[in-house]
Symmetry: C2
Amino acid sequence: MSRAYNFCAGPATLPESVLRQARDEMLDWRGTGMSVMEMSHRSDEFVQIAETAEKDLRELAGVSDDYAVLFMQGGASSQFSTIPLNLLGDKGSADYVNTGIWSKKAIAEASRYGQVNVVASSEDSGFTTIPDQAAWKTSAEAAYLHYTPNETIGGLEFDFVPDSPNVPLVADMSSNMLSRPVDVSRFGLIYAGAQKNIGPSGLVVVIIRKDLLGKARKETPTMMNYQVIADNDSMYNTPATYSWYLAGLVFKWLKEQGGVQAMGEINLRKARKLYDFIDNSDFYANPIDPRFRSWMNVPFTLADDALNSEFLRGANACGLLNLAGHRSVGGMRASIYNAMPEAGVDALIDYMTDFAKERG
Amino acid sequence: MSRAYNFCAGPATLPESVLRQARDEMLDWRGTGMSVMEMSHRSDEFVQIAETAEKDLRELAGVSDDYAVLFMQGGASSQFSTIPLNLLGDKGSADYVNTGIWSKKAIAEASRYGQVNVVASSEDSGFTTIPDQAAWKTSAEAAYLHYTPNETIGGLEFDFVPDSPNVPLVADMSSNMLSRPVDVSRFGLIYAGAQKNIGPSGLVVVIIRKDLLGKARKETPTMMNYQVIADNDSMYNTPATYSWYLAGLVFKWLKEQGGVQAMGEINLRKARKLYDFIDNSDFYANPIDPRFRSWMNVPFTLADDALNSEFLRGANACGLLNLAGHRSVGGMRASIYNAMPEAGVDALIDYMTDFAKERG
């Protein structure tokens, strides 16, 4: 088929123009006679690619020189250990907010390295809302305060940045990085697996306030030591060069779209359109507190679960792919990251309309 | 320029046919309407790609069912910690052979986790030879015996597999994996960063005897726990899917070339040609004990170091790229991995001949 609309939660759809450029440069990057994936990471060409990507990311996200930007290998799951190993220090405890499956994974891994205090949880609600910050039982003694701004599986997204003036705020932005403006200066550390809004899997971007470097525990594997990675411009070992290059192409594309301000407006419009359609339907439903509905991941159910397979088959036939919900929750989920064009959301709504008419 | 001959030590040249296929499939993998890098790692399509790659690797390298094959994120440097964390167990000590810069890095990292006994070293010779195994001071109590079959920087390669009937043998094959036949059954663990003979950087292949699984220390980050990775078919988290796909294309290409037996013959011929030329020249020299010269990385010096820059400029102008030696040793180095065609070696020899005539 020609290009489909791919609603996969990650690895996820990439901008078509980025893939076209990657395709055109595959055998010969700008007259060098090499693919980017064949370049030494220490070559002038690749260093230029890497530095440009960092510069563009800093510009897009508004990252000041108080922060280091790291392009590390792995993904959020490896950061779940890397963060406590680097930040727990002699404090020994950290505060975590539990808003869903990814929060829980982060909590489970951190608990292996120190005392984790779950200072708030929306588990009682089935993770359909975000607990009011006024009720969080945070501690001034915590090494950091961790939360998950967007729960990819649950489709639950913070519409505010928690206040944490004295304890460094740490955020897993894997699924909403660069999707709308965020004030980076309020964070100690932001991390994001690339495979949703940034590029291919295997790369994780870490933005860390420089005063938090240099506190890693003795047993921290060298490749997980933020200070080492920062001191070596993410090239202590051979980084994931091709993923880094693709991330750079995505950053350029984001700048062409008008940056995260423009992206946020588009994303809000896309999400609203889909939620409004669901809310106005008797056939589809979304259980999340409207205030905290994710702009990136839209889970929904059909009035009759027995129709799920037919819905998915029909969607596939129309080139609307990967709408099945996560295996842990079932139902449907449409991931509509930055790279999902508004036309893809429109096509999905058209299909959902027809399906509900025929089967509802 | 058109495709150059790229002698980079890593990331390194890839087979042109692999890059052409990756280019042609970039926007739409076999009618799915998606790039491989946009596919869910749990989709039928990607699972098929992943399983085929593993099957082809098992066939190429002769890996029996006694071994798990893992496609992990990172590279050899991350394995330098992963190995002691997983294998030291209650033994507390491991034996390491020191034959160059990569051995030393492995030793330094392992020393952070337990007692490392350097059972043999060729440092006195300037790492120009391999110590005779009869003189190695190995211990029956060691958790494992680690060595580096090919030193990428020094250009020093074992022509034998050490005997280690009772202690698991661990080998960093980053730079000579699949370059010639090797009896996998003699190893406890083989690992290889992909970016030399396998694919793009960011992926490391681990072949581990199954009885060595399940011994990780408590503090091992989950993403470094071999047992967890094996139990989840390398998909505990999102793996480096695109690199895995490219590795699979390289494995297919290797099979088309006749597998590692045929590759070994070609590699020996390429290496011999270049070493013979160097040995017969008054202008070029290679310091390595002829028995242990690497088939993959051929360092050489010019009679006058002052000519190095001119040599490199002229080479670049002829499309012979990345011949500078590692920054730690200087001189020249031609990396001639599987994907370097014999014509590339011929072109290099032609250039070296002309340069020596003009400047020698």
